[in-house]
Amino acid sequence: MKALPIGRYTNYDTFLNRLDARFKLLAMILFMVVVFIHFGSRAMDFTFYGLLMVMVLVFMRIAHIRIRQLLRAIKPMWFMMIFLLIINVLVVQTGEAFYIGDFPIHYDALFNTLYTFVRLILMLAFSLILTATTKPMDLTYALEWYLHPLTFIKVPVHIIAMVISLALRFIPTLLEEADRFMKAQASRGVDFENGKLREKVRAIISLIIPLFVSAIQRSTDLADAMEVRGYDPNGKRTRYRIMHFAKRDVLSLFFLLAFFGGMLALSICGIDFYAFIL
């Protein structure tokens, strides 16, 4: 089966795997926020990014994620980055510049691109670590837990969670089926790789229609199976999976909040360590 674009869960028993999914979800969101804060100077910003990168590498090491996986996730972004660089060079006309011939290139343009690039890498890395160390089901439970307050304004959170978990459950099944349909259509002469756009679209349609029909069939079967096993979306249910915060989660949460708070404080005060040194 083909790998999904972001990370797939890898079944290692590491510290990161054992952490509570709710904590990891919160941590990822905080890290994604922290990536966007500015410090006193550019040098400070990049020192901070360096620090985050080191943390990312340590986490990846713990979670048995190869650097190659991260590089593979970044690969589709090269084109975008080059495009962004060109736009920046053309648009940004402030600050110091150096010249290639008569053409001015402003340092700000280069740095703007670099900021975006580093932030994207970091965010990709965080999501990679999260998905590699957390089962999709646990993420769903975590999401349900955070959304729980919405039940007070009559949002059917448990139904949403059930829908998400069923979707996750059927992703492998449908991928496998898509693969089978593709082979079946290919054996009838449908060419998925070559040909003009029109032909390609037609090839894809020959895949999507049977896939839809089968998905609908599956969903009616599934609904029947759920109903006879007593599922009532609006009824009361007990839970098999109950999440417990362990000591390590509390400790990790403490460190996370301390780190986040510290960084926020540094950012708000606008302290620039390099100004003292130099």
């Binding site: 099944t173 599956r218 249910r237």
Partner: protein, 274 residues
Amino acid sequence: MKAIDVQHLWFSYHQEEEEKMILQDLSFSCEQGESIAFIGPNGSGKSTLMKLLVALLEADKGKIFLLDKELKEDTVDFLRQHIGIVFQNPDNQFIGATVRDDIAFGLENRCIPHEEMEDIILKYAKEVGMETFLDKEPASLSGGQKQRVAIAGVLSMHPKILLMDEATAMLDPKGRKEIMALTKKMRSENKDMTILTVTHHMEEALLSDRIIVIYQGKVYMEGTPDEVFSHAEELKAIGLDLPFEKKWKEELKKAGFPIENTMTDEEAIEILCH
């Protein structure tokens, strides 16, 4: 007590078209603890009947009594607690993310306290021989294993009536043998569980106490396996075959040996040896 009593059932998917009645005045009943196999050609209405029994469909006319209670809107929830069904497609009835979660699904619906679930899950996983696969995802299980999980899920609800609608149809011969062996085991361990199986495999039908042949929405024939399979011609007329164990005697009889369908295997072999 009668486990199931179906009286003059009529059903069609499209009420407008009068002639397209899928079930036509179908009646049968069965005692508690009995096992019945339903056989019949494709489209004869077997699955439709099963769906009516678990109230996934509603009959146009006729009555269904389960455990001496009539199946009606206000008894559905109660009666569903005593009836379980295993469907044909192993993938489409696997609800949980793992084997554990799938068995737990029914328990959650029944509001079984969280503390008791673990033991129940383990017990029924053992019952079907899946205790070493508890944390496996459906994608990494074979069809037969998935069906065993489905059976565990149903058994964990202590059904008095168990329906299996071609539960082995999508399995390879090994998977089918596994499920057949499991069915045998369930029957010997739960003597008062009523089991209804729908199948196209005559070997499977042989295992039950009674066979009901469905043809064009009606009961075409009914009796013990021996009785039903002694009517080879009638079965052939509606496109059904005999199981191998019955067929060889039939074929030998045609070839001129003094063998009757009603003989036991030993008697027939005795004659052949002389």
